[in-house]
């Protein structure tokens, strides 16, 4: 399978601070990829690098086999909805569709107007007067109607109420079925990503902590509870992600490819949310040592 996004040692610095450092990714096509991490972790920076809104300070990035924004043809293959779904507040919904038609050779006017109608948006309404959910849907329509191969969404549902959130994801999944899209969406709400993603990237403190297919992550991460023990004494192939101790008991989240034979441990599966939280709660020192990227 070809990769939709390939990054090698990618980094971006603002004055003194590195917003993204040493990012190496190989995201396969045909998947819905979740990019999760706390605020300020570098999710927006990574997405902006992928669409050419930012230039890398270090390393390289390739999207659909080409440099981001290298040409109008490359721009046409990638759809993007930035955080808070920016729209021209003075332009109407219909004006936005005209904008899309004039600026995108691959524009599918039928898809666009069908979607607007199904969503119940008034074409003559100014975008500034729309609700947050409606603006997000308009922005998604603009990105989908240019018929991209890859869709990138920056926290698309963060400011939406639960109903708008559900409707947005429903529409997005239908479009994935219709157009055979690959999607990368970022969020700090793991619960939403859990439903729709089959590939996960965890970004904390400007670094990739773990990346891989959700099923593989579920299969290789375990919760171990047992008598109090020093995590450093675990076997080499068991990587401790997070540890907590009481005076008698130790609870560990570990990543390992091999089965766990030690009978002292009670082994339980780790839910996706707990997995992400374990990576997010690592100390700063540990966070700078990223786990190897998990590939399939």
């Amino acid at each position: 399978m070809t990769a939709v996004l390939k990054a090698q040692g990618l980094g971006r610095r603002y004055r003194r601070r590195w917003a993204l450092s040493d990012c190496t990714l190989d995201i396969p096509a045909g998947q819905v990829v979740g990019l999760v991490g706390p605020n300020g972790a570098g999710k927006t920076t990574l997405l902006h690098l992928a669409v050419g809104l930012l230039q890398p300070t270090a390393g390289t990035i390739e999207v659909l086999g080409d440099r981001p924004a290298a040409s109008p043809a490359q721009l046409a293959r990638v759809g993007f909805v930035a955080q808070d779904a920016p729209t021209y507040s003075g332009l109407t919904v219909a004006d936005h569709l005209r904008l899309g038609a004039h600026l995108n050779p691959g524009w599918d006017a039928a898809t666009a107007s069908d979607r607007i109608e199904r969503l119940g948006l008034d074409p003559r309404q100014r975008a500034g007067k729309l609700s947050g959910g409606q603006r997000a849907q308009l922005a998604l329509t603009l990105a989908l109607a240019k018929k991209p191969e890859l869709l990138l969404l920056d926290e698309p549902v963060a400011s939406l109420d639960p109903l708008a959130r559900r409707e947005f994801l429903q529409g997005l999944m239908e479009a994935v079925v219709d157009q055979g899209l690959s999607v990368v969406l970022s969020s700090h709400l793991v619960a939403d990503l859990e439903r729709v993603c089959d590939y996960l990237i965890v970004l904390v403190a400007s670094r990739v902590q773990i990346a891989g297919e959700v099923e593989h992550l579920r299969a290789t991460h375990h919760l171990l509870t047992g008598p109090r023990r020093d995590p450093a004494r675990l076997p080499e192939d068991q990587h401790v992600i997070s540890a907590s101790h009481t005076d008698r008991q130790t609870t560990l989240t570990v990543r390992t490819e091999a089965p766990i034979h030690d009978p002292a441990w009670v082994v339980s599966p780790v839910g996706l949310e707990d997995l992400v939280l374990a990576y997010m709660s690592r100390t700063a020192a540990d966070a700078r040592r990223p786990e190897l990227e998990v590939q399939r």
Binding site: H48, V51, G52, L53, L54, Q55, A69, S71, P72, A73, L75, A76, V78, G79, F80, A82, D84, P86, T87, Y88, S89, L91, D95, R98, L99, G100, H102, L103, N104, P105, G106, A139, L142, K146
Partner: protein, 332 residues
């Protein structure tokens, strides 16, 4: 991209067109009457020996419109820079809509080039139309005194306003690009524009073509002040003149002796403490002094206009080129 530029500029374009139309109507109503009045009173005033009255009466006609025109021509290019140029990029960056515009299937180069080209041409056309109307309507007024060679009038006639508008527009876009906020960019545009334009008009314009020097016998009707003292020394004769060469722009004038020295020597005997003004003037006349004028003749009006416009257009083009380069390399 052309459609989008038009759509985003629609309101400003319509407002400008409306303003120009209103002005055209006002001019059409008053213009012919002014020309007629000039032809019948001021043009023939020499024969009736009451030129000053005729001129005063004429210049007080349509005074509101005159003031409005002066204000408009003074402000128009700056306003174009502030309201058309400064928001062009700054507004997008402030609202974050560049994150929508720059991920459509157009390169940043094309996005900016079309916007700059269309809005820049519109600015120049608006300024050109305005200047055309004003130059036509002000024709009679400009035939009085130094007329259109007068530095403040020169900036408001002919094709120079087109150059100003292009420069102000490009300056506004650059300010908006670098400052990234609309209101501060507007302020910066106004400040820089005013400084450049006044500096140029004051220091550079007069020397665009080497001025003419004319040395001739002192014209006594031009003498406005006589006295003792001044830069040549406390005991030296001082004679100041206010030259009146119709249609010309006098850069400087001085009074010299027949040998060419500005030090006129001691005052003649007819200019003592108790002498009359007429006696002193007559005594000065017998000194055979000369006057030296450094000036630009009225015939050079269009040459100076073209040079100045070309310079401002070149500045505008350079700024536009910088903007295109900067937007592609640096902005995010």
């Amino acid at each position: 991209m052309i459609w989008l530029t038009w759509r985003q500029f629609r309101a400003q374009t319509v407002a400008a067109a409306g303003l120009l139309a209103l002005l055209a109507i006002a001019f059409a109503v008053t213009g012919p009457q002014l020309a007629h009045l000039y032809d019948t009173t001021v043009a023939t005033c020499h024969a009736q020996h009451d030129c000053q009255n005729a001129i005063n009466a004429f210049q007080s006609r349509d005074s509101f419109l005159q003031s409005l025109v002066r204000l408009l021509m003074l402000a128009a290019p700056a306003l174009i820079g502030i309201f058309w140029g400064a928001p062009l990029i700054a507004h997008e960056l402030e609202a974050g809509t560049q994150r929508l515009a720059w991920v459509q299937s157009v390169t940043r180069f094309r996005w900016l080039a079309v916007k700059l080209g269309l809005a820049g041409l519109a600015s120049m056309a608006a300024a050109g139309l305005l200047s055309l109307m004003v130059t036509w309507w002000s024709g009679p007024f400009d035939r009085i005194g130094a007329g259109r060679m007068d530095p403040s009038i020169f900036s408001e006639r002919g094709i120079v306003p087109v150059g100003y508008a292009a420069f102000a527009f490009a300056l506004g876009v650059t300010a908006g690009l670098l400052i990234r906020r609309t209101v501060p960019a507007m302020a910066a545009t106004l400040a820089v524009f005013a400084a450049v334009v006044s500096g140029f008009a004051g220091k550079v314009r007069f020397h665009l073509i080497p001025p003419l020097h004319l040395t001739s016998p002192l014209n006594m009707s031009w003498v406005t002040q006589t006295g003792i003292g001044g830069p040549a020394g406390p005991n030296s004769l001082l004679v100041n003149i206010t030259p009146n060469v119709p249609g010309a722009w006098i850069g400087s004038s001085s009074v010299t002796t027949a040998a060419g020295s500005t030090s006129l020597g001691p005052p003649p005997s007819g200019c003592g403490e108790n002498s009359t003004y007429r006696a002193c003037t007559a005594a000065i006349g017998r000194l055979h002094l000369r006057q030296v004028l450094v000036y630009q003749p009225g015939s050079r009006f269009w040459a100076l206009q073209w040079y100045e416009t070309a310079i401002y257009l070149a500045l505008a083009l350079a700024l536009a080129g910088f903007c295109v380069w900067w937007v592609r390399r640096r902005v995010s």
